[in-house]
């Protein structure tokens, strides 16, 4: 199950009366840090949920491809880690209780878990806070704990929904450093974020609005091609082009 890519074909999803995803096609390759960039309500979360099978598409398809072969979702699913945007940890459980809980859900063997746990606690520098309840962690530490829980099972695909939202600049930088390390291990990483400045940190950017991809490409090339200095400018221009 190494190096799996995700292919999305003219995906559509309506939530209530809102066309949340309005025809998205893309190929997310492994070993790349993909950034879904867009404002609130652009459809980032819905897209991630569709990829995860938490929502069913109205039209179009999501396929996982490994070695040119379509892989059954049931086989891929255990290798996908997901970190929801919403606070979703248990405020009364401590850092180490969270790790124990998710290790058990993922059925990680005890020795592997011990190793993984030490490594992750070291990486995230949460070691001194092992016994602190999640409800009393700072925004950055909370997100790091969420990330740790999803990284416990050594995933192939990592879906992160606004991991840096509400996190101080230093912790944000740390989180990105963590993500780079993961990418080096060949993971397919998909990060949804509303911060335009984070676009430049990604290997591949997808500018999302109203359920559609406005622009996509390698960040620097994209900026040069569009002759803008920053992504928020690009976004505003694309949006007004669309309005015309």
């Amino acid at each position: 199950m190494k190096h799996c890519s995700i292919e999305v074909q003219s995906l559509k999803k309506k939530l209530g009366s809102n066309q949340a995803i309005d025809g998205i096609s893309a190929v997310f390759a492994p070993g790349v840090l993909h950034g879904l960039i867009g404002p609130e309500g652009a459809g980032k979360t819905t897209l991630l949920r569709l990829l995860l099978g938490l929502l069913r598409p109205d039209e179009g398809s999501v396929q996982f491809i490994s070695g040119g072969q379509v892989v059954d979702f049931g086989t891929v699913r255990p290798t996908i880690a997901y970190m929801p945007q919403q606070q979703s940890l248990y405020p009364d459980l401590s850092v180490s209780e969270h790790l124990d809980f998710f290790a058990a859900l993922y059925e990680i063997p005890a020795d592997l878990y011990r190793e993984k746990r030490t490594e992750l606690l070291h990486l995230t520098r949460l070691q001194p806070f092992q016994d602190r309840p999640a409800g009393q962690l700072s925004g950055g530490m909370y997100k790091k704990l969420g990330l740790m829980c999803s990284l416990l099972r050594s995933p192939e695909i990592l879906l992160l929904d606004e991991p840096t939202n509400g996190v101080d600049p230093i912790s944000r930088r740390e989180l990105w450093t963590l993500l780079y390390r993961m990418r080096e291990q060949g993971l397919l990483i998909l990060v949804a974020t509303a911060y335009m400045d984070e676009a430049e940190r990604c290997g591949e950017v997808y500018l999302l609005n109203a359920g559609r991809i406005l622009a996509q490409g390698e960040p620097k090339q994209l900026l040069e091609a569009e002759k803008v200095a920053r992504f928020d400018e690009l976004f505003l221009r694309k949006e007004s082009d669309l309005g015309l």
């Binding site: 939530l15 209530g16 949920r49 995860l52 099978g53 938490l54 929502l55 069913r56 049931g74 086989t75 699913r77 255990p78 996908i80 997901y82 970190m83 929801p84 919403q86 606070q87 979703s88 940890l89 248990y90 405020p91 009364d92 459980l93 209780e97 124990d100 809980f101 998710f102 058990a104 859900l105 993922y106 059925e107 829980c149």
Partner: protein, 373 residues
């Protein structure tokens, strides 16, 4: 991917849920204090028995038999008799609210009794006070039975004393009647309320999204979450049982091997109902209100705990059959007071089985494995 149940995952959820319970003062307080408060309120403060009820008596017969009848009434302790000179005066006492009931014994009561005719005495009740009338009627039944024994010559008088006493307490001590019923109320409140909150909390907290993105199966979440509450419910039931036996001296005439399966069936029925509410509402507040509406109120008002089901309109007599509490109260009272076994309690047990099946089916059917609204 293998879709089989994994005990390790169930135990992980179970452990987590125990942490939640132990760290949430509300849940713990509810589980510990509620049974105690309920038993004290219903068992001590609310007196369904009425003592020293004023009864105006006109004895127009003045024979050995008529005096016997008034003695039976007077010695029961439930009535305080006042003698009236005429039937009209007795009526007057009733109208003037000096008495709740009037007993009029006609002139040839003793003679009719002697000649093996039907001897009649008339009881007039103040119908404007519904709740006491029902109770008085209940007492009068008991009194009539005693009187029958007293006046019917074929029953030996030595047996008679013992037997009447037994009947009297068995029929008329409201605490003996109430406390076994409380077992149902306490379990109902704890099971429905706590479980309906637990799954709704996962949704509200956002952690359900995370759980659903892990390999855990819904059934594993459900089992892991229900077991701690089952234990909590059993603990509360044991507590009420001990209080009933030791605190109120309620006899236990049946078999524990009948009561315990009954308790288990009843707890699972309400746990599943709470679960069903929880998976449908996904909101704690709404779940709580729905649990009150569908669990707590009916189990107090419509289960026969306070108001006898036999006195309800035919529609409700049938409608109440969908309440697990109705059936469990029969099991509880049956085992406590009449010493019933599985044979006598076959209907309630069968009904609980069916209700459990239906509720489990509905709950699993409605349990969402995704985030589709």
């Amino acid at each position: 991917m293998k879709w089989q149940m994994k005990w390790s995952r169930i135990i992980a959820v179970l452990r987590k849920e125990v942490f939640h319970i132990l760290r949430d003062p509300f849940t713990l307080a509810l589980a510990l204090a509620l049974p105690l408060i309920l038993v004290l309120v219903f068992g001590l403060a609310i007196e369904f028995n009425i003592r020293e009820l004023r009864m105006a008596v006109h004895d127009g017969d003045r024979t050995y038999q008529s005096r016997g009848l008034t003695e039976v009434l007077g010695s029961s302790g439930y009535f305080k008799l006042t003698n009236e000179v005429s039937p009209v005066a007795a009526m007057g006492a009733l109208e003037g609210e000096r008495a709740k009931a009037a007993l009029i014994i006609e002139k040839n009561f003793g003679k009719q009794l002697g000649s093996e005719q039907v001897a009649r005495a008339q009881v007039l009740l103040d119908g404007s006070d519904n709740s006491t009338v029902g109770l008085i009627l209940g007492y009068l039944n008991g009194v009539q039975k005693i009187a029958e024994h007293k006046f019917l010559p074929e029953v030996a008088s030595s047996n008679l004393e013992i037997r009447t006493k037994y009947l009297f307490n068995g029929e008329l001590n409201s605490r003996w009647f109430t406390v076994p019923g409380l077992l149902a109320i306490v379990i109902a409140i704890l099971s429905i309320l706590l479980t309906s909150l637990t799954i709704a909390r996962e949704w509200e907290n956002g952690s359900m999204e995370l759980l659903l993105s892990t390999p855990i199966r819904p059934l594993e979440i459900v089992i892991g979450k229900l077991v701690p509450y089952l234990v909590l419910g059993l603990g509360a039931a044991t507590f009420v049982y001990l209080l009933a036996r030791l605190g109120f001296g309620v006899p236990f005439r049946g078999s524990h091997f009948v009561l315990i399966p009954g308790v288990l069936l009843f707890i699972t029925a309400y746990l599943t109902q709470g679960l069903l509410i929880s998976v449908i509402t996904r909101r704690q507040q709404l779940a709580m209100q729905l649990s009150m509406m569908t669990g707590l109120l009916p189990s107090i008002l419509l289960s026969g705990f306070i108001f006898p089901i036999e006195n309800m309109p035919p529609f409700f007599q049938v409608f109440t059959s969908i309440l697990p509490a109705k059936w469990f109260i029969q099991i509880s009272r049956g085992t406590f007071l009449s010493g019933s076994g599985f044979a006598e309690l076959a209907t309630p047990f069968l009904a609980l089985f069916v209700l459990n099946g239906v509720l489990i089916m509905l709950a699993t059917k409605n349990f969402k494995k995704d985030l589709e609204p």
